[in-house]
Symmetry: D5
Subunit: 96 residues, 10 copies
């Protein structure tokens, strides 16, 4: 089941550099593991912003929330979730 | 080059049924032709709304606008375009 | 799987009375059938507004959209969907 | 009498971990006691957010405010209250 | 129990004058009857707008909605309801 | 002359308890003195929020501003002022 | 007593030309009479918009509302009123 | 050439009193000098807010910006500029 | 003197085709004449929208308004004007 | 390919003066180098604000993001990007 997610990152400007680097390294590893598993189906950077549009493919809302609330950057993010479904005009198999 | 597009459809409630059916048939054909060509990379229905999130892969802004302004439903739509790029954490080849 | 839905109704003020009555009768029957089936878990009127907050329990986003887009009032409604899940502090069995 | 409540939690990112843990433990106990009493009728987590939708069943506005302003997290929350009533199409006994 | 209500009136500019006059006469009578009963506690015009702020004193949300949805102007209004309670600094007896 | 005022209070979460207590005590005394004088005509708490709706009866805008800007909580408040007048349907003498 | 007023005009695009001309002529005469009386203290066009910023000098809210609701264009306008007072840094006599 | 300017002041609540007093004294002197020169044509306090509406009369956008960005309070302000011109109904000579 | 202008066009969907064609032809001629004169310095289409961003170079606000309010599409447009000036980092001669 | 960019700068009021001066010097050098290269086509200051409107001419979204996220002020900015294209009425060669 697909969900569209927008994530905006707001890092405090005075977060110590080492702490920032650590969080970002963990965020990247966490994201890539989920991409490999197929649950984080797409991720794109939004031009000019510290933000991304993503698509998740998970069995239910509970798992989606576990994934999102487990993000190392979660407490610095604004997140909006939109449930998606196959569009009646879609022809691509993996748009479901 | 990728663009994220949100399309909201606002059909006047008193549009004659035949006119509506004709527009929707042309809209579907138009969309599917562009999906086949690879330019309309993804399309998903937003749950509960007459709206979709799409991703386009086009060589430039001009072609994106030609495609969007050529939509049979264009004059009944609100459209928002967001330029995308590959996310530094992306692992999937076609997220570029 | 639970979804929170807000529905705002905007009937054109000059819709013929007979057409209005017919739509509302069909809307009520449609809603009650879904409530009986357990898919439309809750519905409450919002004080002072032609609007409701509802909770749906459906297997996936696709079925949610089929239900919502099938509402006789759908073309006169603004609908917002929010995916829900069990709260870690919840104690009531059916809040899942 | 029913009220729909949305609670958004905004914890300062630098709140000491012990203070956070203490507040959250008290919040959970406070919420569960009210759920047991029947006054906090429903609580659901909103997917992807540190937020919940709840339904309260209290005799009047005054008691609702006492409950909400007594939340251990109250000073870190944005709260919106909407008065509800039985929907004319409702069939479930406890949607009143 | 007190509720703060804002009512904005949006009459279609081409509503026939006789229909407008009839609605407004019924609105005034309806409002004054409720004021006499003590349920419509206060009503003030907002300077420069076709709108009012009101305070209602009713036993519950259900009765509030019956009153508001029964307004002859209801279908031409945007209405916002806010539940009130006695302020801890209030000294006036009838601010409860 | 009547004015509708909404006051939202935003106390910094780390304001020392003694300073907070002092401000609140002065705020309460200030408010009650103005209520006694008849200038602060009404005050109601908004359910679930650290906010109030008030009605002031003052001879002019200047005195209204002197009162509001003299509030001990003024620098922690967002304030919105709306000028009111007698509604043509009002029957209560003191709604002027 | 001074009030800042913003008026936005929204004429229906299909209003008959004669009706439009008549309303505009009456609007101009009405405005100029009030300017001459000193009650409509200032009026400026906002560049690029069918809108104006004005300053009124009237004895109270009631008279302000009578003036505004009597505007021939009133039913086609969105109006926002802000009460003003002398600024502590003002040096110009007529800024009161 | 006239410009309408809204200035909202947001002083940090913990700014040292001496620093605040110094800034405000310089702000007042700066404003009065410009009022005397005729460039800061009007200034009014907005009731209930730490904000003002002003009208500037300057030869061009560049000089307007130099004046506004030179305000001692500039870094604590939100400023909105709207270009004005003589209204076709204006009768007052200095509304140009 | 430079001004940034955003124009959004909202043509009624049932405007007769001949009337639309006539307005658009006049709009194009009007725009090109002003571009040739140097007053309409830049115009760009916004991708996916019936809208443009433009830059005007005019001696004052009055002339800017005359140009904008004279647009054949004026009554179908929402227009926002922002005064510009040379940026302190600009190196290009004609960015003034 | 052209992009319209709005940049709003929000410097923390207590940023050390030396750090501010260093960032601003690097920002200016960075901007001017890109202007010389032709990629930062236009930049204008917005009157009364610490903000600018710019136009970029870059081969694709990726390069646009590299430029914007490399701005020394990036972490203190809110940035909005709008893709542009040649307007059908444009006559100026470099509006493409």
């Amino acid at each position: 089941m697909l969900f569209h997610v927008r994530m905006n990152v707001n890092l405090p400007h005075d977060l110590p550099a080492a702490e920032t680097a650590d969080i970002l390294a963990r965020e990247k590893a966490y994201s890539q593991e989920l991409q490999k598993s197929g649950k984080w189906r797409h991720i794109w950077r939004i031009a000019g912003q510290y933000a991304n549009y993503s698509v998740f493919d998970v069995p239910d809302n509970t798992q989606l929330h576990e994934i999102l609330s487990g993000l190392p950057l979660f407490k610095f993010m604004d997140i909006e979730v939109t449930p998606l479904l196959r569009h009646p005009s879609a022809i691509r198999e993996d748009d479901t």
